[in-house]
């Protein structure tokens, strides 16, 4: 029984850690990025607006791995601690309980129709009627210094045919600095193969946490 419980807990925890999330916002919000500090301040009602004065309504999920991941990564509280935090505000007359919704679809629907709303959903969730905000300054997306760069080998056939272009990749970088995962975002698939092979050998400076980065690799047949 204990083994089963431990397995369930382990699965839930690893599920939260493995879950990719994105921060979404109502289109009336002009900003495309938000700092991690600002995001935390807004979701803890320490702040009510962005730096440009746009009033923000934070929208939480009720439960689930997306919710837990968001709290862990950006708020620094467990779900129980967050509940306690808001109850302290409610019972001392400083705030109301925030909006809580169940599914990703509900969050997207609410954020799309509510001015100033910001929420979070799984990375694969549909984003109709909302925009995605890039969170900067968190451990996840802090810029990393590239220590060792290996240039990709230009595929001979494509170079002879004067076929070039830009390959866009999303890389996941471990705390030690090695590239753990590479995801193709766009570009010629043959060029991408060469780019991915090279990027997998890149080495970054160490950091406290795993980070992601979007990089573009240009292929110019004339060079």
């Amino acid at each position: 029984m204990l083994v089963v419980a431990a397995a369930v807990i382990g699965c839930t925890l690893s599920s939260a850690l493995a879950t990719e999330i994105k921060v979404i916002a109502n289109p009336n919000i002009k900003a495309d990025t938000i700092s991690a500090n600002e995001l935390k301040g807004l979701f803890l009602e320490e702040k009510i607006s962005l730096a440009d004065g746009t009033h923000i309504e934070p929208v939480f999920k009720k439960t689930g791995p997306v919710h837990e991941k968001f709290l862990q990564e950006y708020i620094g509280k467990s779900a129980d601690d967050l509940r306690t935090y808001y109850r302290a505000l409610v019972f001392s007359g400083r705030a109301s309980m925030p909006k809580e919704l169940g599914s990703d679809a509900e969050v997207v629907a609410y954020v799309s129709k509510t001015r100033g709303a910001i929420g979070y959903v799984s990375a694969e969730a549909g984003a109709e009627g909302v925009k995605t905000l890039a969170v900067i300054g968190s451990g996840r997306n802090a810029p990393r210094t590239l220590v060792t760069r290996i240039e990709p080998k230009y595929p001979e056939t494509l170079q002879k045919l004067n076929i070039g272009g830009i390959v866009r990749l999303q890389v996941t970088i471990s705390p030690k600095g090695n590239v753990e995962n590479v995801e193709l975002l766009g570009g010629n698939p043959i060029l991408a193969e060469a780019a991915i092979a090279a990027v997998r050998q890149w080495i970054y400076a160490p950091a406290p946490a795993r980070t992601t980065a979007e990089i573009s690799i240009p292929f110019d047949a004339n060079r």
């Binding site: 607006s49 129980d80 302290a88 409610v90 019972f91 001392s92 400083r94 109301s96 309980m97």
Partner: protein, 413 residues
């Protein structure tokens, strides 16, 4: 009977809240109104002195409180709400319901907001939320800092606050500030009027001007918060009193007022993972002219505590704290004539209260918890300003040490 029905209604409302979300809401005039409430019941047993005006040496359940609030957002930036609160604590409270807070709050910017009405006072980590034990691991907050018998002295002011959060550059964290001014009005069923009733003094009112501020820094070190609070008061009280030996049996007008009344409080909190560590220090200085100018009473109170809690699992938390309270006082005029001594040696049991506490909290579900807590106290701080031990309920005098068992359960929604 009516109080019992009210308590039962709140308990039932909380119980029925079982599977609902954080916010219980209804619509009124096209606005979403949130409703929240709580109720708490404790049992206290001491081995020696009677504590907190209860008959704890025989075991007492005269420790009940409950509250309910409504709130809504009138606009994106404007919040309004109110909370009713009632309590009984031994000889205190006596089920006289009060308006706990009632505010209208407008947040212009992140760095500037105003709130007015009856506002909970920000003083240290827990003053504004000291009544809501369900927010914490402990059944009782450290009494050196948050004496439950004296909550009225600091809990709220009728007036206004200016507040805000300022983000510092270079990722140095955030400052949150509050500045306030207002009027404090103590319940006549609170600790200080009860203490003075032993001399035959009966207050008809006690309170006064209260103003101060708080500044806290969410530091760049994850989980570390430090801050400082200052509270100044200009209090006065009116009533009648007996003066034994001078006008025996005759009740004469009584008044007192403060020449100086201030509190400095410094605090720090570190929260990381399952651990929470708090520490606070308070100095309370009170220089009163009493008995309509015939007497003087100066109290210099210093208290501090260090606490730690650990979340063992989703439902179980353990905690412990050491609370240190010392009071030095000097009397003059009529009080000296009546034989009240100056007591400056805080090493004496009558001048201090040291409390070692261990606590366990079990969350039965998201809305109901039970706590079991042991207090191991040395001293009884029997002075001209109270801290939990009162002569009226200890007619045979005080013993130096008191051990107490507190069992407390709370429901909330």
């Amino acid at each position: 009977m009516r109080r019992q029905m009210l308590k039962l209604a709140v308990f039932c409302a909380c119980w029925c809240a079982g599977s609902v979300s954080l916010a219980q809401e209804f619509k009124f005039l096209n606005r979403e109104i949130q409703v929240h409430g709580f109720a708490s019941q404790a049992f206290v047993k001491t081995d020696e002195n009677n504590w907190l005006t209860m008959d704890t040496s025989d075991g007492s359940a005269a420790f009940t409180d409950f509250g309910v609030n409504l709130s809504t957002h009138l606009t994106d930036k404007m919040f309004a709400g109110a909370q009713l609160y009632d309590r009984n604590l031994g000889q205190l409270g006596q089920y006289h319901p009060s308006l706990d807070w009632a505010v209208v709050d407008y947040r212009f910017r992140n760095w500037f907001g105003v709130r007015g009405g009856k506002v909970k006072t920000i003083l240290g980590l827990y003053n504004a939320t000291q009544d809501q034990d369900f927010l914490r691991t402990f059944a009782l907050l450290p009494q050196s800092m948050y004496p439950t018998d004296l909550r009225d002295a600091t809990i709220a002011h009728v007036g206004g606050d200016i507040y805000g959060t300022i983000s510092l550059k270079h990722n140095l964290g955030d400052f949150s500030y509050t500045v306030y001014a207002g009027h404090r009005s103590d319940s006549l069923y609170s600790g200080y009027p009860y203490l003075l009733s032993q001399f035959g003094t009966l207050f008809s009112r006690f309170g006064g001007l209260q103003y101060g501020g708080d500044l806290r820094w969410s530091t760049p070190l994850k989980g570390l918060l430090i801050g400082a609070s200052r509270l100044d008061q200009d209090t006065s009280g009116k009533g009648t009193s007996l003066i034994p030996g001078v006008f025996p049996g005759i009740r004469i007008p009584y008044s007192e007022y403060s020449k100086a009344d201030w509190t400095n409080q410094f605090y720090g909190e570190f929260a990381r993972g399952r651990f929470l560590i708090d520490a606070e220090y308070r100095r309370y200085y009170r220089d009163q002219i009493v008995f309509s100018g015939a007497g003087a009473d100066l109290d210099d109170v210093r208290g501090w505590y260090v606490s730690g809690t650990y979340r063992v699992s989703k439902r179980i938390r353990l905690g412990s704290y050491y609370s240190h309270y010392g009071i030095a006082n000097a009397v003059g005029g009529l009080l000296a004539t009546l034989g009240l001594p100056n007591m400056s040696d805080t090493g004496l049991p009558a001048n201090h209260l040291y409390d070692k506490v261990v606590s366990a909290r079990i969350d039965l579900n998201r809305y109901w918890n039970v706590k079991v807590e042991g207090h191991f106290m040395n001293g009884y701080a029997d002075s001209t300003y109270p801290d939990g031990f009162y002569p009226q309920v200890n007619p045979r005098g005080f013993k130096t040490d008191t051990n107490a068992l507190v069992v407390r359960t709370s429901i909330y929604f």
